[in-house]
Symmetry: C2
Subunit: 188 residues, 2 copies
């Protein structure tokens, strides 16, 4: 996963001037790290989860789930697989539309591991976001059928039974998801 | 890393009757998982860390660090890269020698990630040991030069700066190690 593009260390501002790459690059710990190209399981969970969250939160203006959204804050610029922002935290432009630039930590961030992805870096990315106001981080491992949840104050929990009810941020009390539901989306 | 040897689920007792493999196999979550073959960085840190801990703990009869020791407890049988047992927790046979069979969780367990190793499974193994009386789990990632520490009550911390002082179990107050020291052992 880790690709260091820059030959000499770049600052965040210089990084932000670079052209976007595909898959996206993140700036983090003074390193530029290109994400892995999403594969089948990753893409399926990312799309479906975004949809399932928005089905509960969008019309009621509770929150919005956004895939591959760049968030630039506290000296880093990251692109979580799914960013969930509570409705009042969605930045607006002068027309009241959603801004292009997000300059806060996600309220809820969801990362889906790909084979070959550097698991340590993903965990550190989540822990750092939690230090910056993020309320919940999920790390979904489709290969191991496990979901890790990271909370503020450096707490971790793991879920691996189908009936396990997953932790959801308090601002979406209407949402309820089990681990079994998430991984059932992979079944074709 | 994950190799399922059994074609049908085996119980722990049946697993323990199987011949030892090289590298060792672990029994865990009703699965048999063979460890990855240690490579250079893994082997170096495992050996040196065992030595450094014992230099402080062995003569004073405080604790013993043991590499690749099988611990069988609470329905699982695992072989952490380094097991540290406080002196009073070392099981003895009728001659007062260390027993061959260890039937408690390690007091301190240390895992060193190898490339290709399933990181999720290692984390879950550590979290389960902490539920069974283990006081501290270290997960050393030599590639990412990061050390994660796991504590009872599902707490996690990470260390990545050379000067970071690593958490050490309370029963070894004489030991002090920085992240930089650990990774300096890789330099040849």
């Amino acid at each position: 996963m880790t690709i260091l593009i820059a030959e000499k260390p770049l600052g965040l501002e210089e990084f932000l001037k670079l052209e976007e790459t595909e898959p996206a690059s993140e700036y983090f710990d003074n390193q530029i790290i290109q994400k892995t190209m999403p594969q089948g399981k990753h893409s399926r969970i990312q799309g479906k989860l975004t949809n399932v969250i928005n089905n509960v939160t969008e019309d009621q203006k509770i929150a919005l789930a956004l895939p591959e959204l760049r968030c630039t804050f506290a000296g880093k610029s990251i692109v979580p697989d799914v960013v969930v922002l509570s409705y009042e935290h969605i930045p607006r432009d002068e027309n009241g539309d959603i801004s292009n630039l997000i300059s806060t930590a996600p309220d809820w961030m969801i990362e889906i591991l790909s084979p070959e992805q550097n698991h340590s870096k993903v965990i550190k990315k989540i822990l750092r976001c939690l230090e910056q106001g993020c309320q919940l981080g999920w790390l979904i491992d489709p290969e191991d059928k496990t979901i890790f949840a990271y909370f503020p104050n450096q707490k971790i929990a793991y879920f691996e039974a189908e009936k396990d009810l997953l932790p959801i941020p308090e601002f979406i009390p209407e949402l309820s998801l089990t681990l079994g539901e998430i991984f059932s989306w992979l079944k074709m």
